[in-house]
């Protein structure tokens, strides 16, 4: 296995851990945190490409920069929504937000 493969394995592992968190935990804040983990995993993979693959030298870095930035924006807005929602329902359990049922 080449170095890229090692880093990819790490990235996939972190990604799946994050996926588990998104699917299995009920606290929505925790879900958002797991989402961040997934984003980080992707960043690692991209940085690995930037380092070890000739064609992706600069582009990988830029991609990661933008992802980090947008992730920050997304987390902000997401958590703001959660807090606002909490004010109305007094709950952060994902099970309880099921108006779209049926």
């Amino acid at each position: 296995m080449s170095p890229v493969d090692w880093y990819l394995t790490l990235a996939v592992g972190l990604f799946c851990i994050g996926a588990y968190g998104v699917l299995a935990r009920r606290n929505v804040i925790l879900i958002v945190m797991s989402l961040e983990l997934m984003l980080n995993a992707v960043n690692i993979a991209l940085a690995a490409f930037a380092d070890f693959i000739p064609g992706a030298a600069g582009r990988g870095t830029f991609f990661v920069l933008f992802i980090i930035t947008l992730a920050a924006a997304e987390v902000t807005v997401g958590l703001a929504i959660i807090v606002a929602n909490y004010r109305n329902r007094r709950s952060v359990q994902a099970d309880e937000f099921s108006e779209m049922k049926g």
Partner: protein
Amino acid sequence: MPHGDFHPVLFVIVAVWVLVCGLGVVAFRNIVHSAMAMVLCFLGVAAAYVLLAAGLLAVIQILIYVGAISVVVLFAIMLTEQHHAPLGFFFNRQAIFALPLAVAMFVVLTVVLVTSKMLPNGSQAHNVSLAAIASGLFNGYVFPFELVSFVLLAAMIGAIVLARREDQP
């Protein structure tokens, strides 16, 4: 050790660090413990960036993820009442299905990516310098750069509007 080249020992240490902290995020019952694990995980990712000769990324990671996002998360935790998550490692029925799926996904993705013929086998470091990044940001990538600043602006405004109490102006 040449800058950016692959060093197995360091890589293993960083990898274990990142993965263990990630597991901690999803496994702790107390959400504050999870938040702490998340911070440590971000630090580990920054270390990985360092290993990949992406110094700028490492610094930005720490600044933004550890410094800003983690704080926002902690604030959100503080603002919302937390119930102690019930029982052990399996928290609800969904976990029974999610765990196998996650493991299977891991296996499949790894196999697919590792056995694919698309990626070359180099071990030479090629990452760019800070100067190149800076110049790229203002020349080639100026358009996305400006757009992202708009997005940030919108996010800020949105967050403020959303989180405001009803009776405040």
